[in-house]
C-alpha cells in the first residue's frame, strides 16, 4: 500500500481469530500458558475457554500499521494495554488515525475492538517514520 502519511489520515483492518491461532502462536512465541492452549483449563479459571495471547493481538495491530505504512521498517514504536480477552472465533478490528506529525515522525492512535465493539486493547499508539 502506498499511503500518504498526514495528520488526520485513517485506516482500518480486520483479523478473524481462527480456532487454532493460539496454538500456532504458542509454538512460535514460546507462550504456552495453559489459558492459551487448554480449553478445559480456560473454562476452569472462568475464561470460557482458550483466550488468544495478548501479544498476538498486538501482532495483528503491528501488521495493520506496517501494511498501511507499506514497510515494516517504518514502525518505530508501538504500545498497548491489554484490556479484555480475545477468544478464538472473535474478530479483531483495528482503526488507526494519525494524530500528530513531528518532523518525519507520525504518531497514530489506534482503537482495537472485537466483533461486539468491546475494546480488547486500550491506550494503543504507534509511531512511524
Amino acid at each position: 500500500m502506498n499511503t500518504k502519511i498526514e495528520k488526520g489520515a485513517t485506516y482500518s483492518a480486520k483479523e478473524e481469530v481462527d480456532k487454532y491461532r493460539a496454538i500456532y502462536y504458542a509454538g512460535a512465541s514460546g507462550d504456552f500458558n495453559p489459558i492459551h492452549i487448554d480449553p478445559e483449563f480456560g473454562k476452569a479459571v472462568g475464561l470460557g475457554g482458550v483466550i488468544l495471547q495478548g501479544l498476538c493481538t498486538l501482532g495483528f495491530v503491528a501488521k495493520s500499521v506496517t501494511d498501511w505504512a507499506g514497510d515494516p521498517g517504518k514502525l518505530k514504536r508501538i504500545k498497548c494495554r491489554f484490556a479484555a480477552p480475545v477468544l478464538l472465533g472473535n474478530t479483531v478490528n483495528t482503526a488507526g488515525e494519525v494524530v500528530e506529525i513531528n518532523g518525519a515522525r507520525a504518531k497514530l492512535a489506534l482503537k482495537v475492538t472485537n466483533q461486539d465493539g468491546v475494546e480488547v486493547l486500550k491506550g494503543v499508539e504507534a509511531e512511524v517514520e
Binding site: Y25, S29, G30, D31, G59, F60, A62, F82
Partner: protein, 149 residues
Amino acid sequence: MADLSKVGMEFSPIVWEVERGKIREFAQAMGDLNPIYLDSEAAKKAGYRDCPAPPTFLTVPMLWSGRMPVMINELKINFFMVLHGEEEYEYYGDIYPGDVITGTPRVVKMEEKTSKSGSKMDMISVEVLYTNQRNEKVGRARSLLVERK
C-alpha cells in the same frame, strides 16, 4: 506478593540467536504473510539485507529463553495472580537471520496501586534493551506485569 525492594534489579542477559525459520514461523503464526518475512529475495527487493524479524519478535527471546517464570519467581510474584498489563516496543534497527541479540532484563519500576473498587495490586515494569553482535541497539521491550492481591 511482589517484593517491592527489588526495583532496579537486573537479571542475567538473554542471549538469542535469530533463526530464519523462526522469523518465518513467527510471521505465519500471526497470519502475516508479507513476503519480506518469508523470502530473502523479496526482502532484498524491498531494500532489506535479508528477511527482517517482524515487529513483535522480541517476545520470542523473552519467552523461549524461559526467563519470564524465573523473573516472576525471583520477584516473589504469585504466578497465578499475575497478568500481562501493558507492552511497548521501540525499534532502533533491523534484526536478521544469524544475528545474535542480547538483552538484560531490568526492573525499572515497582509500585502498589489501589483500584477504584479498593483492591490492591502490585505493578512491576521490566525493560530489556536488545543489542546485536555488533553492539548496535536493535530494540527495547517494556512489559508491565500486574499482580492482583
